[in-house]
């Protein structure tokens, strides 16, 4: 997704308010942005706290900086700078975290971001964008720039199923209709599960929604989704993030506020490292029951 973002940002370089800061990462991806942005491309070095403060200072002068690192380094290392310097002042600083969840796989836990949006969503004015498919990235980037407030852009790997006609990017999208439970998936995890669900008979497969923008607000939950939940009687929320502060908890709360609590509620989420062993992103997903087979087994159980 980051190469697609880089291409999208190259097109934004004509905007004189555009600036891009990286924490010394982006080899083989960000070179086009560096070439197009010139002096407004700043490698801030391995110093994420300062990078976010610098971006806030630039934003005070009217710049709209994009600030890049891998997900854990941007949200966790610079958390206080994000809160004090960016969010308190409602500044247009757009944080890009590459590799949300277990995306960096066997690189290990220090490189994973399992608590990122949960930690950030408590901050004032900040909005989180989790594109599910590569095609979402340029549209979501445009929405981030247009919204003009603090943003966290959580990137992952594209797993768009072949021959699937993707509806245009939106915060909520229904991708598949079926006779099974209502399944809500956050971000790129949707691709693999969608591909597997498409192979199942319509009457037993889930009705699949993908969620790409957080926080979840009760009055912004689409009426069609509420209808699906009421009709199916079972809501399953799936995300590559720990339960605490995640979308599952937020959805349960929002649906209660809305007076639309599901009869049955299931939540599949990141569990950390239950076995104490490490592996690829798919290894960790499977260990948490986040792989397509486990999710379909959950939605198809009698």
């Amino acid at each position: 997704m980051r190469t697609i973002l880089a291409a999208a940002l190259v097109r934004r370089c004509e905007d004189k308010d555009f600036a891009f800061l990286t924490g010394d990462l982006g080899f083989m991806a960000l070179e086009p942005v560096r070439a197009a942005a010139g002096a407004r491309f700043i490698n801030a070095g391995v110093a994420e706290q300062n990078m976010v403060s610098v971006a806030a200072g630039m934003a005070r002068l009217g710049f709209r900086p994009w600030v890049y690192s891998i997900a854990p380094f941007i949200y966790a290392r610079a958390f206080e700078q994000i809160r004090n310097d960016v969010c308190f002042h409602k500044l247009p600083v757009f944080l890009v975290g590459n590799g949300g969840g277990y995306a960096y796989g066997v690189m290990g836990a220090t490189h994973h971001a399992l608590q990122d949006y949960g930690a950030l969503l408590g901050l004032p004015n900040l909005k989180v964008y989790v594109p599910a498919f590569a095609a979402d990235v340029p549209v979501a980037a445009e929405r981030i720039a247009r919204a003009g407030g603090p943003a966290y852009f959580r990137l992952g790997s594209d797993e768009t199923p072949k021959n699937f006609v993707l509806p245009a990017y939106a915060s909520w999208r229904r991708l598949l209709v079926g006779g099974g439970p209502t399944l809500i998936i956050v971000g790129p995890l949707a691709g693999g599960i969608l591909g597997a669900a498409m192979q199942r008979p319509t009457e037993i497969r889930p009705t699949l929604w993908v969620l790409s923008e957080l926080p979840v607000l009760a009055d912004e939950i689409p009426a069609a989704l509420v209808e699906d939940i009421q009709r199916s009687g079972h809501l399953v929320v799936v995300e590559e993030h720990v339960a605490e502060g995640g979308a599952g908890q937020a959805l349960a709360y929002a649906l209660l506020l809305r007076g639309a609590a599901p009869q049955h509620f299931s939540h599949r989420h990141a569990l950390g490292y239950p076995s104490g062993f490490y592996g690829s992103q798919n290894y960790h997903r499977k260990e948490c029951g986040l792989d397509p087979q486990s999710i379909l087994a959950l939605t198809e159980k009698p």
């Binding site: 706290q49 403060s53 610098v54 200072g57 005070r60 002068l61 009217g62 004090n84 002042h89 407030g149």
Partner: protein
């Protein structure tokens, strides 16, 4: 170009300084601009008046934190009255000197006497550490140490990219050189040659729970800064002429810093170099004595 300022009642204004906006500049009518002999008297009177107002504000609001405010007051007054121009910006990295900054803004006619009475009260704009977008003259909320130099670097870099004139003055404590983020920012300022960014270090030698030597001895901070390639001026941080001379220079070729030797609790004998005045409010008797001493200066 006109500034667009909109306030979000909950969280503040967002980017208030669109295109050449300016904050914290002296109102020309309130500046000290008299000839030399008269000026010396006027400066002395300004500093005396401000010190008394600071003491009164802290006393009436029952607020401590006086030590670091008294060490910073002469720097803040000189900077705002006699150094900064309309293109310059200011960031208070040592946010716990908010009282001294409020009194400086009061001395410029930017805050009223009535507003100073609200210091530390409920429903106030004058918080213990500057609040985001509460006062248009204050660019950034601060209070957690180690943020101001990075913010100033962003402002300085932004100015350079925009081709805007002016400098960014950043008043820092000596204790905040314990913070790793401060060193990150120093590296950034030095590497990018951000000569518009001027860190001013209020070197009072006392930090939260000990002297800077006892807690985390950096040796000679000025030498450390020189080691990063900065031009460093070491001055008496309570001498208005020395402060003005050190800061009133043309934009230097390479970044500079001012290390200002100060006294925590300066001007009140029982507060000077005493740890407790980082925290404690004054009793009525202490306030009376402090006022007597400040009047005599």
């Amino acid at each position: 170009m006109a500034q667009k300022t909109t306030f979000d009642p909950r969280w503040g204004a967002g980017p208030i300084l669109a295109r050449g906006g300016v904050s914290c500049v002296a109102d020309p009518e309130n500046r000290v601009t008299t000839p030399d002999a008269q000026q010396e008297v006027a400066v002395k009177e300004l500093h005396r008046r401000a010190r008394l107002r600071l003491l009164r504000m802290h006393y009436e609001s029952g607020v401590g934190h006086l030590g670091g405010n008294l060490s910073a007051l002469d720097l803040l007054l000189t900077l705002h009255h006699r150094v900064m121009g309309k293109d310059d910006l200011f960031v208070l990295s040592k946010g716990h000197a908010a009282g001294a900054l409020y009194v400086t803004l009061w001395s410029l006619g930017r805050l009223s006497d009535e507003e100073l009475v609200q210091f530390h009260k409920d429903h106030t704009r004058l918080v213990g550490h500057p609040q985001a977008d509460a006062i248009p003259d204050i660019v950034f909320a601060t209070g957690s140490l180690g943020h101001g130099l990075g913010l100033s670097a962003g402002l300085g870099l932004g100015k350079r990219l925009r081709g805007q004139p002016g400098r960014v003055f950043c008043l820092m404590s000596d204790g905040e050189w314990n913070e790793g983020s401060t060193w990150e920012s120093l590296i950034f300022v030095a590497h990018h040659g951000l000569a518009a960014v001027v860190p001013i270090i209020d070197l009072n030698g006392l930090q939260g729970f000990g002297t800077t030597t006892e807690v985390a001895d950096l040796g000679c901070l000025a030498d450390k800064l020189r080691g990063f390639g900065l031009e460093v001026r070491e001055i008496d941080g309570h001498d208005p002429e020395a402060i003005r001379d050190a800061l009133s220079v043309e934009m230097p070729v390479r970044p500079m810093a001012v290390v200002a030797r100060t006294v925590k609790g300066h001007g009140v004998s029982f507060m000077e170099n005493r740890m407790e005045w980082h925290y404690l409010p004054m009793s009525a008797e202490q306030y009376a004595q402090a006022v007597e001493e400040a009047k005599r200066r």
